[in-house]
Structure formats: structure tokens, C-alpha cells
Symmetry: C2
């Protein structure tokens, strides 16, 4: 018997992918191995993705409001559609929950789901609601659409492409540290009031109610830019950069001083004695996009306030490194699958 | 605070549906309220459905082999696509599981998933695999397709239509009783060998490894028949007949002696002192289809070995009754949502 922890999430997905036979339908353009599956929808491509959020793994209801959780669940799926350069159309939501939840709790969860559907302009079209013996599990499937000329995979980047990220990184992870700390304080003394100062509100928002970057998908279209490759980095910048490079057969040099980190994240990292770069590389839950563009395309993005160039791709697939200002280079590694 | 048990699954879905705003995308043809959501796929309709299977609610791993469970999970979703008169194309599978499962257990689960994908001719295109603090939860989303002329909803049946069911009913429920009994025997004395005789093998197959009726979808096409309405009856004949009638605004008379029940189910019902009709009406987990056809169409189906006429629809929506040979009529009621 082989321990799941030994092969890890990536190993498991690879094992499933290898054992899966080739698609039999002409409609199936891509199966396992990208942010979403792709099917031929006549003059466009359809996109399909399923994500799961599990209580005790992805969220802790002692500090996550159900309304935010509903919003985040939709963000989770929509972000994968955005990573294919697509936009969402329909969403189905499966909810397994125990009878400890009153009807009003489900109302709250769905309030957040609906708020996200409005924000991302996606239709809530169905799902499944079922009992559970223990925790809350949410499954979100999103149907999206993208024109055949604009679809963007993970494995099509080329050496010399500029590596870009949207927004800023590490804040969601530091928001989680803040919430976990307050939970411990509260557990030790339930009379203590939680200390979640206004100066940290951005971190909490990034952790509790993140937004998917459909805005960037619209803007890239407006600017006439099609990325050469794109991937959602909610699992962490490091692991997703490795996916993009491995699948494209390239290396990468990332400049640590270029990685966008918010001031609140810097302050909190200091407070928690965590390197802000580590939080940005491995923290995860930043629903941002990592994408690559041809160098000659990049100037169109150079002054974009929510897009930052953090490095470039190289021809040597064995060199995926983080470079410091002083010129030191260290290999970028993905964190293991610590959860399972 | 309102107890979930009070409003039940149907009440909850209705509550979610009512609070959900009208679809904003022209592609969305139908949302919540049928077996699958419907979207406009150019010259055809696309279908999307999500189902969840939860350990301790939908299955008990002390007697359900993981391979069969994988197969059944796909059957669950494909059956909903068949109920729209459609055929499946792609499937995504989300799996949440704890580290007590070795890698080989996941291989077994996926072996069943792949066997079902081959049986139903559907491409496994992705999904999500995640940790879980407790039990195993499987979420299946299926993308299907149906021509615009053949799509079949729940709410389009008319008075005088003949009510048909596929296959036979009640066997899956009696298979479950058999497995539950052997589990109790084993728990009381682990040295006892389970007694699951060959003469009950059909019941076990119906419970453990049921098939969705894509065969019937093909046959109806070959016969040139489009049902006036159709619904999947894995939640039980009674509740689904009520859905079909309520949504179509009709009544129904069902003749108890016409309900197809296998010989093994009769024998087991006798053994367990359960009415075979009750097992057929409320047992559930028979992945069969309930559909209605115009009376003049029915003769094309009259000699079909896997389709049985069990009654007809009436104009009075308040009369949905079971009629005995002796002429007695009793209202058909759905069982409550006992699980949550």
C-alpha cells in the first residue's frame, strides 16, 4: 500500500491522467492537465472546470462567514476559467452539509454565491444539495466560453517571454495567519476580543473574499494581447510557475524584488517573522493569474497598475530560479502536499 | 432558526431557486428545476449537471467496493443527462478523501470511473482531488448534448399521456437491505461469513453497480419517439412522478399491478416483510427513467421488453393516485428527506 502523502497531489493527478484513455469525442479538445477542460462549441471553445472546498481543509467556519465562503467558492472556479483566457457563463453548485446547519445558514451561503454570480456575470443554473455526516463540502463547476483565437493554455510559453502576474501576492496567506492567531487567542480566553485592526483589512479581504481576475481577461482583450501561456496561481506562485515551465519546456528567472507584495503584507510578514517572498511564492489562495507574453507585446502592459513583470523565460528547462538584487540565484521549488 | 429537516430537500431547492435571479446570458435556456441545466450550443443544446455522493449518506464503504462506487458516481450524473433525452460527452470528477485511503484505493475508484466512462462513451476530462478531514465525498459533473428537436423537460407532459418506466423498480433498495443485514450479522459476529446468495445477485448489482439508461435514449431516437416529458427516478418513483405532474400541471393514475418488479425483488421483499410496491415507489436508487408519451405514440413501445406503461396522466392536478386491481385508489406521496 502506498501512502497518499508520498506521491502528492501532482503525482496523483499525473497518475490519474496517465491511466485515462484518450478522449473519444471529437468535441473534446483538451482533457486533464490544464486549468479547465476544453470542448468544441461550434465557432468558440467551451470550458469546464470542477473545484471542491472542504471544511477543515480549505476553510474554518470558526472565522469564515458563510456569505464570504459562498463568494469564494465561485471565485475558485471562475479563476480557472479566467486562466484559460475565458469568461464564465454558467455555474452549478453542489453542497453537502450536516443538519447542524439551520436553513438560514444555507441562505447566507447562497447569498454569497449569488453575489459572486452577479460580480462575475455568471448564471447559477443548478446543483445538488445533500446531507453530510460531518463537515460542509462545496463543489463548484463552471461552464465558460472563449474564442478559438484567444484560448490560452499552460504549455505554449516560449523562451524570452516576459513572465507577468496580476495583483499582488502573499496577502491571502498572511490574512490566514492573522485569523488563525486570533482564533488561538480566543480559544485560550473566550473573553478576549479579536484584534483585527483596520490596518490589516486588505489581508482579511484577500483571505476571506478574494476576487477572480475576469477584469484582466477583459482588459487583455481590449489591449489586443493574447498571452502565450496562462495559469491560475491560487495554489501558489512557485508550484504554478513550475507547471507552466515544465509543460512548456522552458526555464525561468524570477526577480524577487519584482514580485508585487502589498504594504500590509510586508508589515504582517514582519510581525509573523515570515519572509514576504516565501508568502508570495508558496502561501497560495491569491486568486491571481500568472501569464507570459512575447517581449515585443509587453510594452502594451508596461504601465498597467495591476500587472507586474516578474521575470522572463529561458531555454534551459532545468533552470527555474529566483534571482536576488545581489545576483544570487536559488532554484524555485514547490511546497509538498502537506494537507492530505 | 429553521431546522433543515422541516423544509426538506425539495423545499430547500425551491427556496434557492426562488431567490436566484433570472439568467443573464442568452446561452442559458434553463437553470434550476430540471434534471440538468440547458445551454444553447449553436445548432444543439448543451446540458450540465452536478451530483454529489457522500460517505455515510449515499454509500457505506464497509460493503461498497470502491470500483463499483466509481462506476455508480458516473451513473448518477449520466442518468440526469439521459433524463433530458441527451447523451453525455464529458465528465469531471471531484474527490475529497482523507489520508486513510492508500493510493491503491484511489486507483480502484478511478478504475470504476473509467469503466463507466467507457460504458457510457464519455470523456473523463478533469476534476479536483483534495484532502478531507473525514469521509470520502465524490462530486460528478457531466456535460451532455441533445438536438433542439429532441430535448425533453419535466414540465411538458399533457393529460392522457401514457406514463412509462424503464427497467424494473425496487431492486436497488432491496439490495441495500440485504447488504445492511449482512453488515449487522458481521458486526455481531465477525467470524460469520456473509450470506449473499446467487439468487439475490441481481439485487446486489442494482444497488452496487447500477447502469444509467443511455440505451433507452438511443432506442427512443431509433423508434422516432420524443417523450412529452421525462425525469430520472433515482430518488424514487413516487417523488419524481409528483415532480413531473406538479411541473406539468397534471394528475396521474398509476396501476400498482403494472409497476415492473423483478422476481428477486419480490422474493426479497417477502423476506424483509416490505411491500414490493413501497420499495418500487419510495426505495430509490433505481437509475431508471420515467417518461410520458402521447397515447397514439405508445403502440410503438407496446412490446418493448425494457419499457412498461404503468398508468396515464389526467387533467386534475389534485389527483395523483395509485389504483389497485380491485379499483381502490390511494394518493401517492413522496417520502420526506429523512437523511439530513
Amino acid at each position: 500500500m502506498t501512502d497518499l502523502n508520498k506521491i502528492g497531489e501532482v503525482g496523483l493527478i499525473e497518475r490519474i491522467r496517465q491511466a485515462t484513455s484518450a478522449p473519444s469525442h471529437p468535441e473534446t479538445i483538451r482533457g486533464i492537465g490544464d486549468d479547465a477542460a476544453v470542448f468544441d462549441w461550434g465557432d468558440q471553445y467551451g470550458l469546464l472546470v470542477t473545484d471542491m472546498l472542504v471544511e477543515g481543509i480549505h476553510f474554518d467556519l470558526s472565522y469564515v462567514p458563510l456569505k464570504h465562503l459562498g463568494y469564494k467558492a465561485i471565485t475558485f472556479g471562475v479563476s480557472d476559467i479566467a486562466a484559460m483566457n475565458g469568461l464564465p457563463i454558467q455555474v452549478t453548485v453542489g453542497v453537502a452539509l450536516s443538519s447542524r446547519f439551520p436553513v438560514e445558514a444555507i441562505d447566507e451561503l447562497y447569498e454569497g454565491i449569488r453575489a459572486a454570480c452577479t460580480a462575475y456575470d455568471v448564471d447559477l443554473v443548478g446543483g445538488d444539495t445533500t446531507a453530510s455526516r460531518s463537515g460542509l463540502v462545496i463543489s463548484v463547476s463552471v461552464l465558460g466560453k472563449v474564442s478559438k483565437e484567444l484560448i490560452t493554455y499552460r504549455n505554449t510559453a516560449q523562451p524570452n517571454d516576459v513572465v507577468c502576474v496580476t495583483g499582488d501576492l502573499g496577502a491571502a496567506y498572511l490574512g490566514l495567519q492573522l485569523l488563525e492567531r486570533e482564533k488561538q487567542v480566543f480559544l485560550a480566553d473566550p473573553n478576549m476580543q479579536p484584534s483585527l485592526p483596520e490596518e490589516r483589512s486588505y489581508l482579511l479581504q484577500r483571505q476571506l473574499r478574494p476576487d477572480a481576475r475576469t477584469d484582466i481577461v477583459h482588459e487583455l482583450r481590449d489591449l489586443g494581447i493574447r498571452p502565450t501561456a496562462m495559469i491560475d496561481i491560487s495554489d501558489g506562485l512557485a508550484s504554478e510557475l513550475l507547471h507552466l515551465c515544465h509543460q512548456s519546456g522552458t526555464g525561468a528567472i524570477i526577480f524577487d524584488e519584482n514580485i508585487p507584495i502589498d504594504d500590509q503584507a510586508h508589515l504582517a510578514a514582519d510581525e509573523f517573522k515570515i519572509s514576504p517572498i516565501t508568502a508570495a511564492l508558496n502561501g497560495g489562495e491569491d486568486y491571481e493569474l500568472l501569464f507570459t507574453v512575447r517581449p515585443q507585446e509587453f510594452e502594451k502592459l508596461a504601465n498597467h497598475s495591476r500587472i507586474t513583470a516578474i521575470g522572463y523565460l529561458t531555454a534551459d528547462p532545468s533552470q527555474i530560479v529566483l534571482a536576488t538584487k545581489a545576483g544570487q540565484q536559488t532554484p524555485i521549488r514547490a511546497q509538498g502536499w502537506g494537507q492530505l
